[in-house]
Amino acid sequence: MNLTEKILARHSGRRKVAPGEFIEASVDLILANDVTAPLAIAEFEKAGARKVFDPDRIVLVPDHFTPCKDIRSAEMVKKLREFSRRYGVRFYEIGRAGIEHALLPEEGLILPGELIIGADSHTCTYGALGAFSTGVGSTDVAAAMISGRVWLKVPEAMKLVYTGRRQPWVGGKDLILYTIGLIGVDGARYQTMELTGPAIDSLPMDDRFTMCNMVIEAGAKNGIILPDTITLSYLTEVAPQKKVTLDWPGCEADATWKKCLEIDVSLIEPQVAAPPLPSNSRSVREFAGQRIDQVVIGSCTNGRLSDLRRAAAIFRYGSVHPEVRAIIIPATQKIYQQAMAEGLMDIFLKAGCVISPPTCGPCLGGHMGVLGKNEVAIATTNRNFIGRMGDTSSQVYLANPEVAAASALKGRIAHPEEVLP
């Protein structure tokens, strides 16, 4: 069995599971946000449930439209708050929270080998810590809050082996954009993407989160990376009391794969994905010159501390182009504080960026930087679908933080090397 199958077998009380089988698995953690939890709560109540299976294993994070952008979103968040008071489930208020997929790992809520479901498609992010985590719907969350269980189909698995050394300015974002470009937006539909190889072994934790975050953009059910010393040192920091060890079983020799793909990362240049699909990824050089109106650096994909460090390393060299707005969104309160302590915020402010509180905001066209007609943005987010950041005629290009920052300075899509002195 591969890593995912082992976790699924363990959570469904079976010795073995095989692709295509339907199982009912126990869940270690359930997540919902201000958009998806209200529907889940309504279903929960409609079913006449009087208690949740385990309040400690349910986490509600208001992040999409918070700090609430309008009366209706305020009413939705109120439902989460009230539900959490009534049933004792975890609720992260703004000022102590952030974007769910950056927050949960940071809070030490995710451990290797666990099974996590979330009513948000980017729940797949936690595979970076060696957990099985996948996005589901609100009704799934309602049902799991009652039963502690979820129905799943055991996915087939794709093994990706990344070899070679990364070029300068190339991070996890570029590797995953390149991969999606290679296999397509449904290249891993219904499958596990197990990310392996020497280039993954040396990849920092934040970049691993970025990669697993975007496996859904290839249609995958989950992405997963075998825990190693990098995982361990991250977990020692965020969850010191949990005493995680590395006696973790890897894949068995008889693990079967639907497909194996080797990718030499030394050939990958910083990537940009043109609208309207994340699979439209090519070297940034092919887009140099594309005019932009707005730059967004943030989101559950690239709003972590190392992303802000990378952006700041570029913004030090200049000011935001007069015809461009640059928006920086630290993904969580803690990241905000750390960035502040390191002096990154000063760099952003001096360069003429605006800093938003932690929120999904413009990533889904919610608030804090929505695009008008025909406007063009380059963003470190994960989706460039039609109308994703605003008007249906607006456009989003996806990139890593350095490319986004360099583009902010140039007023057009630019390679980071263009702005270095």
């Binding site: 339907f22 958009v35 998806t36 209200p38 529907l39 309504a42 279903e43 409609k46 079913a47 006449g48 449930a49 009087r50 999409h64 439209f65 309008d70 209706r72 979103s73 939705m76 979330g118 009513a119 948000d120 498609s121 729940t123 996005g135 589901v136 719907g137 609100s138 009704t139 799934d140 309602a142 049902a143 009652i146 039963s147 129905w151 937006v185 449904d186 539909r189 219904y190 249609g219 059910k221 699909l277 889904l364 066209g365 919610g366 989706r383 679908f385 039609i386 109308g387 994703r388 249906t392």
Partner: protein, 165 residues
Amino acid sequence: MTLKGKVWTVGDHVNTDEIIAARYLNTTDGKELAAHCLEGLRPELVKQVSQGDFLVAGENFGCGSSREHAPLAIKEAGFSVVIACSFARIFLRNAINIGLPVIEIPSAREIKEGDLLEIDFQKGKIRNLTRKVEYTWSGYPPFLQELIESGGLMKWVTRKYIGSD
């Protein structure tokens, strides 16, 4: 169960932002969501569909976010079934969980806008009355069939977990 309806078509990789844009997600009211169904793709469509019509799509229908508002908007807009060459997985499970029948057949592409279809769920047959062709469909795996027959996930869970409380 046999359903008869008129077809409306969309293409490949129709994503959840196109089905229901995020700016409308500050409500969970199905009727309100339905008013903006597929607005990003075919803004005029919701006004033209009649109760019971079918939506037919290409590959990877419903990719993108996990918003259950997407199948909900489609259901409330009046579509009784979605047929596609393939579905994105979260959309598929959401549709099944909320009781919106979805049918995956590779030849969905041959079905054209305006065609009249008759779907026989028991026999797994789709008859294109306009073009006089018939497609077969293998039905749902037994687990999903049980879920659907219980009336959706909540009914299934309620019976299993709350009924015995």
